[in-house]
Subunit: 520 residues, 2 copies
């Protein structure tokens, strides 16, 4: 079998499989050419096989110790590093993203895996709660079952095969059946081989991880509707997330869908700070809008200013700045086309172009757009996400109108306020409004760049994510793939270590109402 | 206005309102007579008014301190106690439940309110997570918004107007619009007056609590579909919960529904324990099956035995015991009728009557039913919940078949195993299967009786509840009505006290990965 064919296969448990006849290839958006390797769309039989193995693996994987799972996660990270430059080169060809960005993304990916490994090795995340007495009841989080995860186009490593969702599910004790994003199938294949190697090396049960390819709507729907799947995680468009949500909530046995469906991430500039450093903020905003060709969930797609002189200076700086920014390739021809169409379509709806970079063939041109507050309030759909390097400006003719605009916003991943201490003191009410709209509120910063740690929230009210209580970044993401179970009047020898009297895991537990870590 | 009319009203904010023309009355199932007071079904205008006030109240209620909300919850508990005997008498007339049971239920209700008051006063429940550095990110749980709560028929106090869901939502900082169960409208009215008194006394914002009456499907659907509602909590039938779930997930902005939809709560008896104390267990099982006329979500509606000699003795004891148990009134004529119809219908499906108490007019007769394992596996719908004092026995002809039956079960609130240490050692695999099926696993006990504390789980996989990750009893229930929010790079003076460096609330927090409670 040629190398090209051998890489075009699904990973079903520990074996590669290529039963289907539907072939597809990835496109290099920088070189503007189709890449040579052909990939095979998974058949329903292959998806069934992956899920059957996953369900079987769950019976043993859920019983692995946290130390064993931590070792597995570290092994995946090590094996991703071992893929070396090939991974970066392949990912760059398939995504058009520059090598340094992908090197950073690889660090983030392995960092996430190791953060989850350390979190479960420490162990307190299970939220052990013990009430002794009659009855004796002891609660902890247990894994939910097999998780179906969909890779995102815009992070071929960090939100893909061994990305945050996979790290989270495997840390929790859940097997994963991963649907690779068709924009980077070869990258996905390489990372899948790293996971396979880690599975074999750390003796994890076969089926704890499988990966299937698919370009069609049907492949994703088949996974979401499958009785062996216990939850879905998705990062992508509203349309894609909503379709999975609809399928999953209408099953005979509904399952949760944790979908991150995008956001316009509004940035509010208050009067004082614009006077103080408008031009500098303009440069920072442009940088944030065009970072990664604007292909981030947290891209600031909307910014709102009060209408005064300082705003005029700020806008002039933006207009001057954007002219010198380069057009850049996008992830796929489809994404680029959608970006260009949206930019054009918005201009039919009262949106004007405030400034734009110079166009270049097959590249996305950074755009600054503008709409009046009145028009924005009348036709709120113009505020919907434009995926790419653009941002829409709204001029509020008063602070009251700025508040009104804030109140009308849909749910967001992030909301940002720039202000001097005086601005912020005066407009605490704005923070208050925005807290109801977003999962993360940023003061004097920009939303791009999501730190991966214990405190991050990457989620927010509908339509940013579903449900609002989830986060897909940070260690709190693990609770998406768990549920609490209560052990009543169990003899000591049948209790999991996390709940035994002598606390052998040395974890923090809520014992009769007090958080303690006593042992012995 | 006559007393009868004055009690027939909705509580909309702090005012009573009775705009509707649809009247209904409650029925006394013991005296077998309609009660005199007429109640008015809420109009959509009244529901709109309640929700508008609730949404307005949210803007200030969410800013109350935990100490203020704790004071409010204690005040509700005090004011319920102040209702004195009238509450118990009215509840007994409307439900047919005996006075001592209702006195106990009142204690549980006030106990729940005080437990949540103490939990929020302590404060660590907000799960504060702080990562200092660049950026500085700080996460905590915030209230979700207005919660629509549906009262249950079978707990006119503890799962009703000031019951667990209301206590939880108010503790979290969420206003409540409560849909009273039409079986106990007068009880609901009295408790609503107590909450109103507490609202006024502790100066809570008007609209933090409203109560509407309704007998129709449409009233509930209107509430679940309303744009001002952020989540629904429900305890009742599968049909009722599923209808709300379908509405809530198909809205333009879907919202979570936390529905507790019942369960058969299987009890497994292992061979050794049946030999050791079969007759004693038979008496305890009968007691659990008929407690409260079987009208508990955790009623053991299914029990499974291995087929050997000890089982024969156990079944004989059950047959002897049930004959002497009294028939008893049920909550409503509709519930009684449904019980009798199900008992009859099951007999058309291969279910046989193993034993029954003596019938009495307008009362539910305790029943023990039986079906073969083969038939149960073929027609799993015979295993669906029968709400009332009955339990279905399945004779497994082998331990293998007993495991097969366990594997076939739908999601449950509870699952119970009776066994000697030897039994349990031998059948740890059964515990393992049941852990995937239920939210609470009980060893050598019975599922009726749900302790209200930090460690309880009252929830489980579909169709027991949705989502499986929720619990509607115990302090962990609070997370249903919250979501995490992350404050990035906030100046100290804009942070909530829970997240300030010097930890003025003295709460446990995850600071840079370590759980600490340091202050200053």
């Amino acid at each position: 079998m040629s190398r090209a064919l051998s890489t075009g296969l699904q990973l079903i448990g520990n074996n590669f499989s290529g039963e289907g006849d539907l072939l597809f290839r990835a496109f290099d958006p920088v070189q503007q050419q189709w890449l040579p390797t052909e990939f095979r769309e998974a058949t329903t039989g292959e998806i069934d096989a992956a899920l059957t193995l996953a369900a079987k693996a769950f019976t043993t994987y859920k019983k692995t110790t946290p130390a064993q799972r931590a070792e597995f996660l570290h092994a995946i990270a090590d094996d991703i590093v071992s893929l070396g430059d090939e991974l970066i080169q392949v990912a760059s060809a398939e995504s058009g993203l520059p090598v340094p960005r992908l090197q950073g993304e690889r660090d983030r990916t392995t960092g996430q895996l190791r953060l989850f490994a350390n979190t479960i090795a420490e162990g307190s995340w299970v939220n052990a709660r013990i009430n002794t007495g009659t009855p004796d009841v002891r609660q902890m989080q247990i894994p939910l079952g097999v998780i179906g995860i969909f890779g995102a186009s815009n992070f071929p490593l960090a939100f893909s095969v061994a990305g945050g969702d996979t790290a989270t599910a495997l840390a929790a004790g859940c097997p994963v059946v991963f649907k690779a994003h068709p924009a980077h199938p070869h990258t996905s294949y390489l990372v899948a081989t790293a996971i396979r190697k880690a599975v074999l090396r750390t003796q994890m049960p076969e089926g704890v991880f499988s990966m299937v390819h698919g370009t069609s709507y049907e492949t994703g729907q088949y996974l979401a509707a499958h009785p062996l799947v216990s939850a879905i995680a998705f990062t992508g468009s509203f349309k894609g997330g909503k379709a999975l949500y609809d399928t999953a909530t209408r099953r005979a046995v509904p399952i949760p869908v944790f979908a991150e469906m995008g956001s316009v991430n509004p940035v509010f500039f208050l009067p004082g700070i614009l006077r103080e450093k408008g031009p500098a903020l303009a440069m920072q905003l442009l940088q944030s809008v065009t970072l990664g060709t604007g292909q981030f969930c947290t891209n600031p797609g909307l910014f709102i200013t009060p209408g005064d002189d300082a705003t005029t200076t700020f806008l002039q700086a933006l207009q001057q700045g954007i002219g010198s920014l380069p057009a850049a390739p996008m992830l796929t021809p489809g994404i680029l086309e959608a970006y260009q169409q949206r930019i054009n379509a918005l201009q039919q709806e009262g949106v004007v172009v405030l400034g734009a970079a110079s166009p270049a063939p097959a590249k996305a041109t950074p755009h600054l757009l503008q709409i009046t507050a009145e028009k924005a309030l009348e036709t709120p759909h113009v505020l919907e996400e434009v995926f790419g390097p653009s941002s829409l400006h709204i001029h509020a003719n008063s602070i009251t109108q700025l508040y009104t605009l804030a109140r009308q916003l849909e749910g967001q991943l992030t909301a940002t306020i720039h202000g001097t201490p005086e601005d912020l003191h005066e407009h605490a009410g704005l923070i208050d409004i925005l807290r109801e709209k977003a999962g993360r509120i940023i003061i004097n910063g920009f939303p791009t760049g999501v730190a991966v740690n214990h405190a991050m929230v990457h989620g927010g009210p509908w339509p940013a994510t579903t449900p609002a209580a989830g986060t897909s970044v940070g260690t709190a993401a693990i609770y998406r793939f768990c549920r609490p179970v209560c052990y009543q009047d169990f003899p000591a020898y049948l209790l999991p270590p996390e709940l035994q009297d002598h606390n052998p895991m040395h974890i923090w537990r809520l014992v009769n109402g007090d958080w303690v870590r006593t042992t012995g």
